[in-house]
């Protein structure tokens, strides 16, 4: 397969996916296809982003519809599909009592990597993130930003084709947020990874290859930032998003300026 074909290959595919919790429709007829590159999943709190991620990682199964990762049907070959996925959850999932290296090793071995592979890949990932000096430090001693970097290094340890980032920048300062975002975007180009970056922060979605707008469990649009603005005849992604999701910015005129 030549490079052009490999870049147009469908990596993540969802077809008519439904998921409800009782009467709450968390995902309602969601379908999309993603190729290589950095994609933003934009939605307000409660839009269904985390549910979508839990379906993509097999923690939940959809009520109906199909999900494929690199052509592998999750409902049939979940473990095979999971081998291609790296994930950073919204809620931190580090064992804070263990060192950075121990956390990476645990994850690598869960994925069946050998000690040699783990050692080699850990060194590379930590060095790229400027974290090589922290390998022997306990995770509880790290800052929030550095903990997120460790989680990213861990997700990349298995050389995944798909990287799922579920609101990974929540709680980070602007500098750490930028660093993480830029690094992941760079990875998509360098390693031809498909990243689905869930966020409710507009600026994080600006440079995405495509923005997927999710609202109340419905996928409202999948297009570039520019296309979304053209379609809604607005001048910013924020306004396009607000119009698509039928939301308004709160009226702040009553707040007195100091």
């Amino acid at each position: 397969m030549n490079e052009k074909n490999s870049l147009s290959e469908t990596i993540i595919s969802l077809q008519k996916v439904y998921k409800s919790y009782g009467k709450v429709k968390a995902l309602n007829d969601v379908s999309f296809e993603l190729q290589h590159g950095f994609y933003a999943l934009l939605g307000s709190n409660g839009a269904g982003k985390s549910t979508l991620f839990q379906l993509l990682t097999g923690l939940f199964v959809p009520d109906s519809g199909s999900i494929e990762i690199v052509g592998i049907d999750l409902s049939r070959q979940l473990t095979k599909a999971l081998a291609h996925i790296g994930v950073v959850f919204q809620q931190s999932a580090l064992d804070l009592g263990l060192t950075v290296q121990a956390n990476l090793s645990f994850h690598g071995r869960l994925h069946g990597l050998s000690t040699h592979e783990i050692k080699e890949r850990s060194a590379i990932e930590l060095e790229r993130l400027g974290m090589q000096d922290t390998a022997k430090k306990a995770c509880k001693t790290l800052s929030g930003g550095n903990r997120r970097k460790v989680e990213l290094a861990r997700a990349l340890l298995t050389e995944p084709k798909v990287l799922l980032m579920d609101e990974a920048t929540v709680g980070l300062d602007p500098a750490s947020r930028d660093l993480l975002l830029n690094y992941v975007q760079q990875l998509c180009t360098e390693r031809k990874i498909t990243t689905l970056w869930a966020t409710h922060l507009i600026d994080e979605a600006e440079n995405a290859k495509q923005v997927l707008v999710l609202n109340k469990g419905k996928l409202l649009a999948q297009a570039t930032s520019r296309e979304l603005q053209d379609r809604t005849q607005t001048d910013s992604l924020l306004n396009a998003f607000l119009q698509l999701s039928d939301q308004k910015l709160p009226d702040t005129s009553h707040i007195q300026q100091i």
Partner: protein, 271 residues
């Protein structure tokens, strides 16, 4: 290739439990203090109240302190099984459970690995208590130390499976006290850990006698009791194997994504 991958995953889970156990020095102390107190205070105090007649596997009159040893070993296994359940709930609250369940290994295998790791810790603690019992001049035949291994292994796996099953339903750490009241205590007290079955029957406690007869913990204790004296109790082995299998299969079913991790991740229900 697949087997080596699974073996690595299992070893990783076992190693993590060992490291955690090593960091929690108080856990071993607590695991030893609890049965030791029963042995020193309870057994010594009731030595003359509870007369134990000659019943299998014993071939002569034994002191009450010797009678309760298998029950106290069972107590170590039971508490550690529940402790593993607590650790699962903690991992879920800390988000670590998701890391485990999104590993590319069969889910039943990951749960089995968790079970094995917990059982290894149970065995370590049980043997540590057995060593301690020597200090209290409890004489267990040397061969019993060896025969007790498979009995405690199976008992540990069965009680660990029960802990795993409970972790499906105990949603928050705060609910663990309820587990203590409704699972550990009835299971321990309505069993042959502290008194033989015939004593219960003789005293007219028919319902308690019946409950104790069917209690899987009774059979784990009896399996260990017989093994400690180089004997084999087929009925207890059967009950331990069957109940352990049922508990484990129900746990696997409980962790089935078809049923939904919804029960485990209520904070993400509508995100």
């Amino acid at each position: 290739m697949v087997y080596s991958s699974q073996l690595r995953a299992m070893l990783a889970i076992i190693q993590r439990e060992m490291i955690k156990f090593w960091h929690q020095k108080g856990r071993l102390v607590a695991a030893l203090v609890r049965p030791s107190l029963w042995l020193i205070v309870f057994a010594a105090g009731f030595q003359n109240v509870f007369g134990v007649s000659i019943i299998p596997p014993y071939e002569t009159y034994i002191e009450y302190q010797e009678y309760v040893i298998p029950g106290l070993l069972g107590m170590v296994l039971l508490f550690n099984g529940m402790q593993s359940s607590l650790a699962m709930v903690y991992d879920r609250e800390m988000g670590l459970m998701r890391l485990l369940l999104t590993a590319p290994q069969p889910r039943w295998f990951l749960l089995f690995s968790k079970l094995v790791s917990g059982t290894i810790l149970s065995l370590l603690q049980a043997y540590a208590f057995l060593l301690l019992s020597v200090v209290f001049q409890i004489e267990i035949p040397l061969i019993g130390w060896l025969y007790a291994f498979p009995a405690m292994l199976l008992g540990g796996l069965m009680l660990g499976s029960l802990g795993l099953l409970l972790s499906v339903y105990v949603k928050q750490l705060e609910n663990f006290a309820g587990t203590m009241n409704f699972v550990i205590f009835p299971m321990f007290f309505i069993s042959t850990a502290l008194y033989p079955l015939w004593k219960l029957e003789e005293s007219g406690a028919e319902i308690v006698f019946q409950l104790a007869s069917y209690n899987p913990f009774t059979h784990a204790v009896e399996l260990i009791r017989f093994a400690l004296y180089g004997q084999f109790n087929a009925i207890s082995l059967g009950v331990v194997l069957v109940s352990g299998f049922i508990f484990f299969m129900l746990s696997v079913w409980g962790y089935n994504p078809q049923r939904g991790m919804a029960k485990f991740t209520k904070q993400n229900k509508t995100k």
